[in-house]
Symmetry: C2
DNA sequence: GATCTGTCTATTGTCGATAAAAGACAAATA
DNA sequence: TATTTGTCTTTTATCGACAATAGACAGATC
């Protein structure tokens, strides 16, 4: 096969979700915009919906015939794009400890294990190299530098420089800037999660990313914003991996975020710096604890 | 062809340089270490040297038969690796102004124009994307963000943060650290070039990179050191492109470097910061001038 | 006994081919 | 007249294949 049709399958699944709530579907361009795919894909989805008897489709008339059931959905394994599959698989290896620093990475072997072609692996490794965890020896193999203490310290050093700067810049955003509204929304989610912390503490990871990215964006500097990708991926997988004391840890981080948000609202540089430093310090400690 | 033999050709050319100075060649492993290639390539080089009558090769005996002439060398176009070719070609497009911000980048078209396969182009674009000049729309094209004023400002902002920090760290390196010797060597080259500035002002570009990279390394932070790649590539091509007042500009930068080096030697944080800021300021101005 | 060479295998770099997905344009419809 | 649909072309994502290069191992040589 030349190209996986994951875009189609994922769009199809998301379209089924829409079907659960409406009696008919909108026009092709509108549907395309909703699902974030091209009309070509929309038509393929509609075609399949008709085929399995979910939809009567004739030009502009798209009538839902029955509600979708679980069996109508494509399995989730088939909707993940190649890069998602390989990233997860690769990070698991690194974080699960099966991978020692200094180890060689073999493209072909990796490709076989994940069940994809070498091109995919190569492109992934190139993209991934910017996270500083691997390094290429030209005309030869990649070397795993490993998720070490040094890595974590170097990462957090730059993070702290950038975030302190971004937080300071946040205070200078004009009052009508969309970031303030987003900050309100984020704060509300914080309170929601805290109110039901025992059940929802795992929602923190995603919220954490959303909040810090918002702060970094205030720098209006693409290099600072892009660097947040590195932090996000490390913390994302770190949260998935290290679940010890997760409830307590996340509760504490949520409280720190609330203090940080309040400081941002105050627009007082000193308060902002204090709250930011306080939170970054515990984030660093959490990360370091998981290494040794 | 599956793979270019540029490694072989480049090693061959560098081996010819060695031949100009000796009457016989060392063992295969030693030669490999000198040229930075594997024994396989060394043997291919030796084989060719024998073929063209430059060398009598029998096991350990490798006697030079005649001095190489210009015609023995492979043309330099053939010794550049694919990534070098494509990088140069691509940067020329961006900097020469033929490329407007917002423009779409077509992989196939680019590949045809440069005369390589699409895989090479894709991998290059992925690697290149970390420089912040292009951006990918998934399942669709790349977008050129362009070498704009905003780009230059964002780049120099981060550069200044990192370099000030690295310069401060430099002062704390132990006295016997190899960096101090390298600093001496770099200073000597500065004086050499200044003494013959009219003929050698174009040597500045390479020296500039060597000096600033040394400073950045003092941070002992891979993210800071890696970021220097972005700066290096931009300034490298910028120097090649914008030759107006190059002599004067480089002479000034050389003087600033000397003051900066003296400040580093003094280990006085305030002097270092002053000299560093002074130089970074004029570097930024030079870069900005070339844009508008 | 250490290093070198001959030989062989393993791995990377690059290509062209092909299905999926995006996107352009004109005719149809409301 | 503004959308929508039908049809067609262009472009990307992914694969497998193969030459260049790296690297391993045993026998040869100093």
């Amino acid at each position: 096969m030349a190209k996986q049709n994951t875009v189609f399958k994922d769009a199809f699944n998301r379209c089924l979700k829409l079907l659960e709530q409406t009696a008919s579907l909108p026009s092709e361009p509108e549907l395309g915009a909703t699902l974030g795919v091209s009309r070509t894909t929309v038509r393929a989805v509609l075609g399949r919906l008709e085929e399995v008897g979910l939809l009567a489709w004739d030009k502009r008339r798209k009538i839902v015939l029955r509600k979708p059931v679980a069996a109508d959905y494509f399995p989730t394994e088939e909707t993940d794009s190649l890069s998602e599959i390989i990233e997860r698989s690769f990070m698991r290896r690194i974080l699960d400890g099966g991978a020692q620093p200094g180890m060689q990475i073999n493209e072909l072997e990796l490709a076989r294990e994940i069940g994809i072609g070498t091109t995919g692996v190569r492109e992934f490794l190139i993209r991934f190299s910017r996270f500083g965890l691997i390094e290429k020896r030209p005309n030869s193999h990649w070397v795993l530098k490993g998720f070490t203490r040094e890595f974590a310290l170097e990462l957090t050093e730059v993070r702290e420089i950038f975030e302190l700067r971004s937080a300071a810049a946040f205070a200078h955003l004009p009052k009508d800037h969309a970031a303030w509204q987003e900050l309100d929304a984020i704060e509300a989610v914080h309170r929601d999660i805290l109110a039901d912390i025992d059940n929802r503490y795992l929602d923190f990871s995603e919220l954490d990313e959303r909040f810090h990215l918002l702060v970094h964006r205030a720098s209006r500097n693409r290099f600072i914003v892009d660097f947040y990708d590195v932090i996000a991926i490390v913390f994302h997988y770190h949260y998935q991996w290290n679940k010890t004391n997760a409830r307590q840890r996340n509760a504490r981080a949520l409280e720190e975020h609330l203090a940080y948000i309040a400081a941002l609202r105050s627009r007082d540089p000193i308060e902002i710096e204090l709250a930011c430093r306080q939170h970054l310090k515990s984030a660093r400690e959490t990360l370091l604890q998981s290494i040794n």
